[in-house]
């Protein structure tokens, strides 16, 4: 394999690994802050115990998200130095801003939150978790604006053999980035809510801490449902953007080969890439695809055949990832609606089949997250910056395939090990359940 493929593999592997931990951080930080707010305003000890229990899982997960994030920042220079040189005038700014604005705030106040229970006032402690979680959310916004620039470059001019910024505001207000941000952020909230529901269901099945876990479940069910609806709505808005600005990605997502008006959407579709058509094409909803793409029943969709093969993304993985992600999203919508309704009933903790289903549903949003990024990044190929710079032209010139093979091996072993340990610890502490005694905190902070 050549340096480009190896570097792509390494970026994908490290990026997807990073993304196992980040969505939970985004969601669980805010939800933990919410629980602590409830505790501080009501003085109800159960909210404090919830804060401590879910906060602990948040922290175990947070550690790995942070350390694997450094890899992402370094890799632009390590493996993609031609890219970094070519677009650094625009792309470097959000990365630096992310660090000074968000990372400092996040890391400093996480430290205050972990170690500050007995050192600062209740309100100051509450403020520290809010600052940290808002900072994680802001960092997601900034990095997604940077990613959006790779998908839909704006506010630049090609000068001095590179892309130079000429409109910072355009980069900051790139609608592609904002829609993607809300889509991604809410997907993280949904993921965290499903984790809370799943872990709560596991304990309810064992009749452990009924009140604690019913309350957690009820809260998470509402978060999950609202967030999933938001994910669907922004997903629809995002598809419109993609259809307009990245026609090859859109065509690959839908496996649309011919350019036509008023295209329908087939529920059963199997692409045949070699013959440039779909070998199975059944259960078509007329005009649906045109409606989804342009909110216009007669909109023209550009098919893959309108583009030379070397400018098409890998169709099969993009298509399958998109379909599967959408399917998982629909499942989550139904499951969270059911969760809201059922958790309000008296006999909720006796619905064993449903509770078991919710335990098994924990991986669903995780899978959807990974698939979403596959669609976003695979669908952009062969471009690293859509329509501007090819991935194959962006790789570092001074590195050899041996170097990248070794680093890829290193990352695989190291990440594999750390990932296994982290998941082991998450499961251990999730199963252990909440601490009974929180008097040490209440005694110092005072009641009410």
């Amino acid at each position: 394999m050549n340096v480009v493929t190896l570097s792509q593999l390494q970026f994908a592997a490290t990026g997807m690994f990073h993304w196992i931990f980040v969505p939970l951080t985004l969601g669980l930080s805010i939800m933990t802050a919410w629980m602590e707010t409830k505790y501080v305003t009501t003085g109800d000890e159960t909210w404090l115990r919830m804060t401590k229990f879910w906060g602990k899982l948040f922290l175990i997960n947070f550690a790995l998200g942070v350390v694997t994030g450094i890899t992402m920042e370094f890799q632009f220079g390590l493996n993609w130095s031609e890219y970094s040189r070519y677009v650094g005038d625009i792309f470097g700014a959000p990365l630096a801003i992310e660090a000074t604005l968000a990372f400092f705030l996040e890391s400093v106040f996480i430290g205050v939150w972990i170690f500050g229970w007995n050192k600062i006032s209740k309100k100051a402690h509450l403020a520290s978790i809010w600052l940290a979680s808002v900072a994680t959310n802001v960092s997601a916004l900034i990095i997604l604006l940077a990613n959006a620039w790779m998908q839909k470059p704006v506010g630049y001019v090609i000068r001095n053999n590179r892309a130079e910024m000429n409109d910072f505001l355009a980069v900051l207000t790139n609608d592609y980035g904002w829609i993607k941000f809300i889509h991604t952020l809410l997907s993280g909230y949904a993921l965290a809510a499903f984790l809370i529901m799943g872990v709560s269901a596991w304990h309810l099945l064992r009749k452990n801490e009924n009140e604690f876990f019913v309350r957690s479940f009820k809260m998470a069910a509402v978060w999950a449902f609202v967030a999933t609806i938001g994910v669907a709505v922004t997903g629809d808005m995002h598809a419109v953007e993609i259809a307009e600005h990245q026609p090859t990605k859109f065509a690959a997502m839908e496996s649309q080969w011919e350019t036509k008006r008023g295209v329908g959407m087939s529920l059963l579709l199997i692409p045949d890439v070699a013959r440039e058509c779909n070998s199975v094409d059944q259960l078509c909803i007329p005009n649906m695809l045109s409606i989804l793409a342009f909110h216009d029943a007669t909109g023209e969709i550009k098919g893959l055949k309108s583009f030379p093969p070397e400018l098409r993304p890998p169709v099969l993985p993009t298509f399958l990832s998109f379909r599967l992600m959408t399917g998982l999203g629909m499942f989550m919508l139904v499951a969270s609606l059911a969760a809201i309704i059922l958790s309000r009933r008296q006999k909720f903790s006796e619905y064993r089949a449903f509770l078991t289903l919710m335990v098994c549903a924990i991986p669903a949003p995780y899978l959807a997250e990974q698939l979403g990024w596959l669609v976003a990044e695979l669908g952009r190929q062969p471009w690293i910056v859509y329509g501007m710079l090819k991935t194959s032209d962006a790789v570092s010139k001074s590195i050899t395939s041996t170097q990248v093979i070794l680093s890829l091996l290193g990352f695989t072993v190291l990440y594999g090990l750390l990932g296994a340990i982290d998941i082991f610890l998450l499961v251990k502490y999730a199963k252990k359940g909440p601490d009974k005694d929180v008097s040490s905190i209440i005694n110092v902070q005072g009641r009410g």
């Binding site: 992310e98 000074t100 972990i114 007995n118 190291l414 982290d422």
Partner: protein, 351 residues
């Protein structure tokens, strides 16, 4: 204002970010790789880890910011520095990753093997960055074998990982290790109590002389090995920078002997900052020189971003950096007390 004004502003900021990073992570790395010597049992190990617990992550962000600032202000330097030094930086990355999770994971399981493994991980993953940063900066001071044609946008590099381990690079590596060792020992002295604190101050006392010897050797060897002294010969007033570094280092010893360890730690901070400034002042206007072709030097003029980007980033830095410094000072004040047994036992959140 002319673009060169902003290029100089960002050069200064670049030096400051690195200096502050080494000052802050220096004591975390130092207490980390010395933890096997300083702490004699599990409780002492936990005290040591918890003494850096609330701040280590925030300290590491200075590194991420230094990297981000290099990317935003000098993208060509960022691109070539990271890709040319690929293998060394990947190793560094592995070490920083392991160090970060070690703090979080160590206390999460009650098992001797588990804790001993993470203790070892903390020592190795703290030592490696200290050494590698030194080696990397030694090579940056010296220049790396790259040939760049800025007009034709063609860049090449002819070095290897082993090539970085040249005598001057290694000497700078040892210098960094000793700087951080004294720094970390003093941190342990002022942040813990009893035997642990005593061991910290004793170790700082013992390591000071080797540090002085290596520092003198470094200053001497820098003359034949690098071009850093050119700027000082052209403008002797700049010699105040290395002078402050040397005086600070002497004051570290003075205050250690007087058992005024907070002062000693303060001057250890100054020593590290001014050692970095000494190197950076000598580099100007280069960010990374080439040791085979002066025309290939990466300078602040040939590798910077456009005027607009530099202006925007200056505004961002002017707002964010002072804010960060303010709340970081607040945090250091909140956690100013020494860490004791009681803190560890009483706090289930402690590492």
């Amino acid at each position: 204002m002319d673009i060169s004004v902003f290029q100089i502003i960002w050069f200064v900021l670049w030096g400051v970010l690195w200096a502050v990073y080494f000052m802050l992570d220096g004591f975390v790395l130092g207490t980390g790789f010395l933890s096997g010597i300083l702490a004699k049992n599990d409780t002492e190990k936990r005290i040591l880890i918890n003494s850096v617990g609330p701040v280590w992550d925030g300290n590491e962000v200075w590194l991420i910011t230094a990297g981000g600032a290099t990317f935003a202000a000098f993208p060509t330097t960022y691109a070539l520095m990271f890709s040319n030094l690929y293998s060394a930086l990947v190793l560094l990355l592995f070490a920083l990753i392991v160090r970060g999770v070690s703090f979080e994971f160590r206390g999460k399981l009650e098992s001797d093997t588990w804790k001993k493994s993470w203790d070892m991980a903390i020592m190795v993953s703290s030592f490696l960055p200290a050494l590698l940063f030194g080696v990397a900066f030694g090579n940056i001071f010296k220049g790396i074998p790259m040939k760049n044609d800025f007009a034709a946008y063609s860049y090449s590099y002819d070095g290897t990982l082993i090539g970085l381990l040249n005598p001057y690079g290694l000497l700078t590596g040892v210098l960094f290790v000793l700087l951080f060792a004294v720094h970390g020992s003093l941190y342990a002295a002022i942040k813990t109590t009893g035997d642990l604190s005593k061991r910290g101050s004793d170790l700082a006392n013992k390591l000071w002389l080797p540090l002085l010897v290596v520092a003198v050797a470094f200053l001497g060897y820098t003359y034949p090995a690098t071009k850093l002294y050119n700027n000082y010969l052209n403008a002797p007033v700049l010699l105040i920078v290395p002078l402050i570094a040397v005086i600070s280092l002497l004051l570290v010893k003075l205050y250690t002997v007087k058992e005024s360890f907070h002062m000693a730690f303060l001057f250890s901070c100054l020593t590290i900052v001014f050692v970095v400034f000494t190197g950076v002042t000598g580099l100007f206007p280069n960010l990374i020189p080439s040791n085979i072709d002066p025309a290939s030097n990466l300078t602040i003029f040939n590798s910077s971003s456009s005027l607009l980007t530099l202006q925007i980033m200056t505004v961002v830095a002017a707002i964010c950096v002072p804010t960060v410094i303010c709340y970081k000072i607040w945090v250091y004040r909140v956690f100013r007390a020494r860490v004791t047994d009681a803190d560890i036992v009483g706090n289930p959140e402690a590492y």
